[in-house]
């Protein structure tokens, strides 16, 4: 899993590339923890490059949301591929995360 970071509208945008599963779940948790220690707690996770997600990957996003939420922040998700969006809907987690078509639209919602 590759994680690229940029800033849009003063919001950190993490663009993921690859599979978000049991072998990569820790990467995203560690990245969000690291950002939260710098008080960067409003984040967009751009998933345009994620072609597979499983329950471990979803768990890493829930864990990351908890981390920033405790500090008053939020995570918004952008650019889900159709199959990945279907997994969010299957597990009802689309009700918890704000989901947007692209990272700019997501960043502008903070």
């Amino acid at each position: 899993m590759e994680i690229r970071q940029e800033t849009i509208n003063h919001v950190a945008v993490l663009s993921l590339e690859g599979r978000l599963d049991a072998s990569s779940a820790r990467d995203i948790k560690e990245k969000v923890s690291s950002l939260s220690r710098e008080n960067r707690i409003n984040l967009v996770i751009d998933m345009a490059g994620v072609d597979f997600i499983d329950s471990s990957g979803l768990g890493s996003l829930v864990s990351s949301l908890r981390t920033v939420n405790k500090l008053g922040g939020d995570i918004k998700i952008s650019a889900l591929q159709d199959q990945v969006r279907a997994v969010f809907e299957l597990t009802r987690l689309h009700r918890i995360f704000g989901i947007y078509d692209d990272s700019t639209a997501a960043a502008m919602r903070f």
Binding site: A22, D54, V62, R66, L90
Partner: protein, 150 residues
Amino acid sequence: MDHKRITFIIESDMQNAPLIGMSVNRLCLAAAFSTIEAFNIELCVVEAITNSIRHCYGGKVGHEVKVVLTFTKADIVLDICDIGPPMERDLLDRAVIQCPVGDNDNIESIAEGGRGLAIIKEIMDSVVYRSEGGENCLTLRKKLPVKEET
């Protein structure tokens, strides 16, 4: 022969789960499952393999996970097998998709894990677990797509 069968064996390393997942996906596409159905079946296989590695083998490498894929005339059948302590007896029965409440005040009440079996039950037509002689197998079954008459 009515059945076509292939057996995959991987070492119990999470990095290996996609090898079988992606192979199963391609075989499902070849069997005329749609892209989304093939993805979903891949997801179920990966969830089952992850459960085996995490719960039966405690996340440790050096053990084997076996996946047997069988195409019958009507179904795709996947047996995901490990050798070790069996899954808790009623875990499969209790697995359901939780419905989170949609506001940030309740984030702490949302479980980080424990969705794997519920996802499998939601997607597959049948899910059966058995443990015999030290081997545990989760058997997943999905009806093949109906071929359209030409």
